[in-house]
């Protein structure tokens, strides 16, 4: 069995969750919209699941709409908000530069459709700039969307502060809670959110289920048209097994947190960080200076490239990621690390370790050892490392040099 350290990409479905799903794949198969009891009993289970998810987020059940995942929920918010009456007057959307691609690319599309999109910068720790937020959010602002925890670095954003700026200007506030849920307490009301996104497969629930919270009174233009499901906000035959599994996963992950599971995960994460720092020179902990969710560790290993590193580790049964799984398939380095001011060369050499409830300290020690060995091996292959050692520079000055090279090459483009 491999050591799985990619829980921010996805988590295994818990056995207890699967058990609540199976009856809805076997016995209770009716269409929840049907008039007969075969369907009605499924409808009832969905409504109970809605109540569970709502209570986990501290909101009203009727403000929760189930979706096919976090991506759809995010797109619903961005596209939906811009299809409202409010959007006729308010033409500005404010997001952060480290949002998930589903927010970033929706915003890009909205720019094409005539909205003004402002993408808030982050500092070198990965924290969204409150000064820039203050400048960007004005009375023409329709929607502000800032995630609570970043998927690549785990950095926690000052959502409550930004939310009060939005409120002061009558703008709607949305937050992508996908990576925060189950890792830190999430209080939708306390954060002052009008809308929020959650996803099941990041909290040990099934894939392709999520939910969007939309405060009563806000009527988003729907993405989908069809039957009356989810009050026409999200038509299409529901996914009862998925929804019921999601609700159970939510209950369990929140009670785990109450019972200190995340404290243990944090100890392991810190241990991994320390062990890597101890063993491997010329590295940087990304987001290390900010508050982070307890399970995430993002490290840049100088002079090596991330994909090679991840594949070598995979061959040794360690599963990690080079950034968000969703932006893989591209050759671009992580937009999150670039936004943090990291030169491209270094961004290419970054690895995300994201821990989960079942990881053990043995696994962590094994990982640190293997990472050290593989980094050494790849550095022995790296012409950049050869040049660096021959130069006699220290890593600090190297970083400065690479940074200025990067700026130059950006200017040449």
């Amino acid at each position: 069995m491999s050591v799985y350290l990619d829980h921010n990409a996805t988590t295994p479905v818990r056995e207890e969750v699967l058990e609540t799903m199976l009856p809805y794949l076997r016995t209770f198969f009716g269409n929840p919209s049907s008039v007969h009891s075969v369907g009605r009993q499924v409808r009832q289970a969905i409504e109970e699941a809605r109540a569970t998810v709502a209570s986990g987020l501290g909101v009203r059940a009727r403000d929760i709409y189930f979706t096919s995942g976090g991506t759809e929920a995010n797109v619903m918010v961005l596209m939906g908000a811009t299809g409202t009456k409010q959007a006729e007057q308010r033409r500005r959307i404010v997001i952060s530069s480290v949002e998930h691609p589903s927010v970033l690319h929706s915003a890009k599309e909205l720019e094409k459709r005539g909205f003004e999109v402002i993408s808030l910068p982050v500092d070198e720790r990965g924290v969204v700039s409150l000064d820039h937020a203050r400048q960007a959010i004005d009375d023409r602002t329709l929607l502000v969307s800032v995630m609570l925890a970043n998927n690549e670095t785990g950095v926690i954003q000052p959502v409550a502060e930004i939310s009060s700026m939005a409120r002061a200007h009558g703008a709607w506030m949305h937050s992508d809670l996908v990576q925060a849920l189950g890792k830190i307490p999430v209080d939708v009301k306390g954060l002052g959110l009008d809308m929020a996104t959650v996803s099941s497969h990041k909290i040990y629930g099934p894939k392709a289920v999520g939910a969007v919270y939309v405060r009563g009174g806000i009527r988003l233009r729907p993405l989908l048209y069809g039957g009356h499901q989810e009050h026409r906000v999200r038509p299409g035959t529901e996914n009862p097994a998925g929804i019921i599994g999601f609700a159970r996963a939510m209950e369990l992950v929140l009670s785990d947190m109450d019972q200190g599971v995340m404290d243990r995960v944090e100890e392991l994460r810190d241990m991994l960080e320390q062990e890597i720092l101890k063993r491997i020179p010329h590295i940087r902990i990304n987001g290390g200076g900010a508050s982070r969710v307890p399970n995430t560790l993002n490290v840049t290993f100088g002079f090596v490239e991330g994909e090679g590193l991840a594949l070598m580790l995979d061959a040794q049964a360690i599963a990690v990621s080079t950034g968000s799984a969703c932006s893989s398939g591209t050759l671009e380095p992580s937009h999150v690390l670039i936004a943090m001011g990291m030169p491209h060369e270094l961004a290419h050499g970054s690895i995300r370790f994201s821990l989960g409830r079942m990881n053990t300290s043995e696994e962590i020690m094994e990982t640190a050892q293997k990472v050290a060995r593989v980094v050494e091996q790849l550095r022995s292959m790296s012409p950049l490392y050869e040049d660096f050692t021959k130069s006699g520079m220290d890593f600090g000055s190297y970083l400065v040099k690479v940074g200025s090279d990067d700026e130059k090459s950006a200017m040449e483009e």
Binding site: G308, S328, S380, M381, S382, D405, S409
Partner: protein, 130 residues
């Protein structure tokens, strides 16, 4: 990355790269690529009487970059310079049982590294001739 799968041969040349390392007494060295883009290849050639007798590489880059540079070192040894210059990026990719489309640029880089190393050899020998 991912979204594609490497051929077993690419994985083999990545995990067990042939001819990895430096050639201290190389007659030609070519470095191509840009760390900003995530790929840098360096090729070392030992050339005797117009024939490549040894080759080594160092690569900063993804699995495909490492595999193609390793493969090119194998392909050039025993060839004359002009024969070596006929090795196309497609030939390198084919020797690895193909590359995913998004990774074809690695084979281009490998071809460029070879050309750069041979140019370096010519420059050095021109210098020596003068």
């Amino acid at each position: 990355m991912a979204g594609f799968d490497y051929s077993p041969k690419v994985m083999d040349y990545f995990m067990n790269p042939r001819n990895m390392g430096e050639l201290e007494d190389a007659d030609g060295v070519g470095t191509v690529g840009n760390p900003t883009c995530g790929d840098v290849m360096r090729l070392y050639l030992k050339i005797e009487d117009g024939t490549i007798v040894d080759a080594r590489f160092k690569t900063f880059g993804c699995a495909a970059a490492i595999a193609t540079s390793s493969m090119v070192t194998e392909m050039v040894v025993g060839r004359t310079i002009s024969e070596a210059l006929e090795i196309s990026n497609k030939a390198v990719a084919e020797a690895l049982d193909g590359l995913p489309p998004v990774k074809m640029h690695c084979s281009v880089l490998a071809e460029e590294a070879l050309v750069a190393a041979i140019e370096d050899y010519h420059e050095r020998s021109d210098g020596r001739d003068k």
